[in-house]
């Protein structure tokens, strides 16, 4: 039994379900290939700050090899019947489910998130993503229109061919699944570059599914952004590039794509408002309890979520009473050993991320925001070398930098509004528009306010649900394109129009 009452055993210890290799390679053309110039980098765990494996430091040559292998197989893969591709995706989903504990433990060790979350969210959502796209491609169709009695327009979807995907470090395997599943379902070959902070789990995943996909269909090349990432983004033989990250790199990727006239999809984060209207407090029932829990969602995944509800907008008339309950709930967040299944918040993903959060504690205080809770490092006695912070509530105003920048930590900045007009002014006073939460008992308000919030996803009376069947993506500087939902397939395909005449007679023009 790999789990005890005290939690999961640490990887690489006796009896642990997970024994990491000392070194991993790139997954190219169905084989494990060392980087061309033989360089590797150390991969530490943010749980204890210690190095536990080595990862290839790949460069342009490695990316080019992967692109070559992908091109060699793209036609065969693109012409594989949807039924067959679908079956392979279903098999991948089954492998994910079967190895849920192993992969969840790896994700926790590499990223720092609590095992409770990787078991309950990252893994089941990843396998469901493969199943969703496996299902969608069996049911969808192209279209045909009769232009006139003798002319027919057919619209057939064709894969782009070979696509590049650069994924983030907050949900390493799940974000890989979000990008891989639709691309593979649509018939593309993939070159995936994992984040250099969290490269391991997707490599374990590749080990497990290596025999399911034909060699060359999925290629994973590791390395640093300025070396491997940039080589992928600038490669002229990539038909499309998808990226999740921040705005400057997003712009740079668009710039590179413009040089080769390639499409891009970008998910660049947000500063999502979580809005609590006065009707929430009309009754002290289970819905009220749900709303207070909704406030606390800023601590999910240590706040390292692009849609972290990092701004809470609370109607003035209920502020004091609501905040009293909210602080009470935040106080109950259990910090501790990420391997303990009762721990709710684990380590921040890396040392620089940890330092960045501390720099925001600093500027928040200097700008005069009031710390209502936390605001300090969390000393994790079990792991003195790990990167832990306390869940933190600031009270201030929307012009402060802690209200405008994505801290990517368990930090919420709270402010009040008087009425709907002010609610919308504050909610939309942001460079970003990825997510928003709206809590109300008034159905008219629920729809009307949701429509006026400039964001791609508005959660009404819920937060942080990510079903594969719901489109996810940003307005404003939060990016271009969507993820999830069958519409995602069109980000990975071309539309072929075949215009057919059934008229035997010449047009008479010449």
């Amino acid at each position: 039994m790999s789990v005890t009452l005290a939690g999961y055993k640490k990887p690489n210890t006796e009896g642990s379900v997970l024994q990491f290799k000392k070194q991993y390679e790139n997954f190219i053309g169905g084989e494990w290939v060392p980087p061309a110039d033989g360089e590797y980098f150390d991969n530490p765990s943010p749980v204890d700050g210690k190095i536990f494996t080595r990862i290839p430091r790949s460069k342009k040559e490695d990316i080019e090899l992967a692109v070559k292998k992908a091109h060699a197989v793209k036609e065969r893969w693109g012409n594989t019947p949807a039924a067959k591709r679908s079956r392979m995706l279903l098999k991948i989903a089954d492998v994910l489910d079967k190895n849920r504990e192993l992969l969840a433990l790896s994700e926790t060790w590499d990223n720092g998130k609590p095992i409770r979350e990787s078991l309950a969210a990252d893994l089941p959502l990843a396998s469901d993503h493969f199943r969703y796209f496996a299902g969608v491609i069996r049911a969808e169709e192209g279209s045909m229109s009769e232009i006139d009695a003798n002319t027919l327009a057919m619209h057939v979807k064709e894969p782009i061919g070979v696509v590049g995907q650069i994924i983030p470090w907050n949900f390493p395997l799940l974000m890989a699944a979000w990008k891989m599943a639709p691309a593979l379902a649509a018939g593309n070959c993939v070159i995936l570059k994992p984040a250099e902070q969290t490269p391991v789990t997707v490599l374990l995943f590749a080990e497990l599914i290596a025999d399911i996909l034909p060699p060359g269909v999925l290629n994973i090349v590791n390395g640093f952004g300025p070396e491997a990432g940039q080589a992928l983004a600038t490669c002229p033989d990539i038909g499309k590039i998808a990226f999740t990250g921040e705005t400057t790199t997003g712009r740079l990727i668009m710039q590179f794509a413009s040089e080769n006239i390639k499409p891009v999809t970008l998910e660049l984060g947000g500063k999502s408002p979580n809005i609590f209207t006065e009707s929430v407090l009309a009754k002290k029932d289970s819905f009220f309890d749900k709303a207070v829990e909704g406030f606390t969602m800023f601590a999910l995944n240590q706040g390292e979520v692009c849609t972290c509800p990092s701004r809470a907008l609370i109607q003035e008339s209920i502020y004091d009473e609501f905040m009293e309950k909210a602080i009470e709930r935040v106080r109950k967040i259990k910090l501790g050993d990420p391997l303990d299944p009762t721990t709710m918040m684990g380590a921040q993903a890396s040392e620089d991320q940890f330092q960045k959060i501390l720099s925001y504690f600093d500027i928040g205080k200097k700008e005069g925001a009031k710390v209502l809770f936390g605001g300090e490092v969390f000393e994790n006695k079990e792991y003195p070398g790990g990167f832990y912070v306390q869940p933190t509530i600031f009270e201030g105003n929307n012009k402060m930098r802690i209200f405008q920048e994505e801290i990517f930590g368990p930090v919420v900045s709270v402010t009040t509004y008087k009425d709907e007009k002010e609610l919308l002014e504050i909610a939309n006073d942001s460079l970003y528009g990825l997510g928003a939460g709206l809590w109300t008992r008034d159905t008219h308000q629920a729809y009307q306010i949701a429509r006026k919030i400039e964001a791609g996803r508005v959660w009404v009376n819920c937060y942080h649900n990510y079903p594969a069947h719901a489109a996810f993506g940003g307005y404003k500087q939060s990016g271009i394109g969507r993820e999830n939902h069958k519409m995602m397939l069109d980000h990975y395909r071309q539309t072929k129009n075949i215009l057919i005449s059934y008229d035997q007679n010449p047009t008479g023009l010449f």
Partner: protein
Amino acid sequence: MERVPRVLVTEEAQKVIDQLRGEHGELMFHQSGGCCDGSSPMCFRQGEFRIGLSDVLLGEVHGCPFYMSRSQFAYWEHTQLTVDITKGRGASFSLEIPLGIRFLIRSRPFTSEEKKALTPIESVS
């Protein structure tokens, strides 16, 4: 009147800039925003990142121009920035990442006295 700089750089960061300049040539910074490594300053080879009319030049750090998008500057202009470094492995295409360190911004609000004497920003033309 002596102008108050909008962006400073620590000695440790200067050493890293020197090291990177030795390896890559002239450098530039662009302040990022958004998810993951957002809020971190990005260091590129001079001219590699295309600066446009949407950007402003805040000043120079150790001989490198430091830019930010104009829309982001509207929310940052009341604070003085200091480019520092920390250990760690950031993502993004910033040049220092292979060194196992990351540029980091530390900030403080300008005093009302300082606000009267700030270095003017330059538009990019």
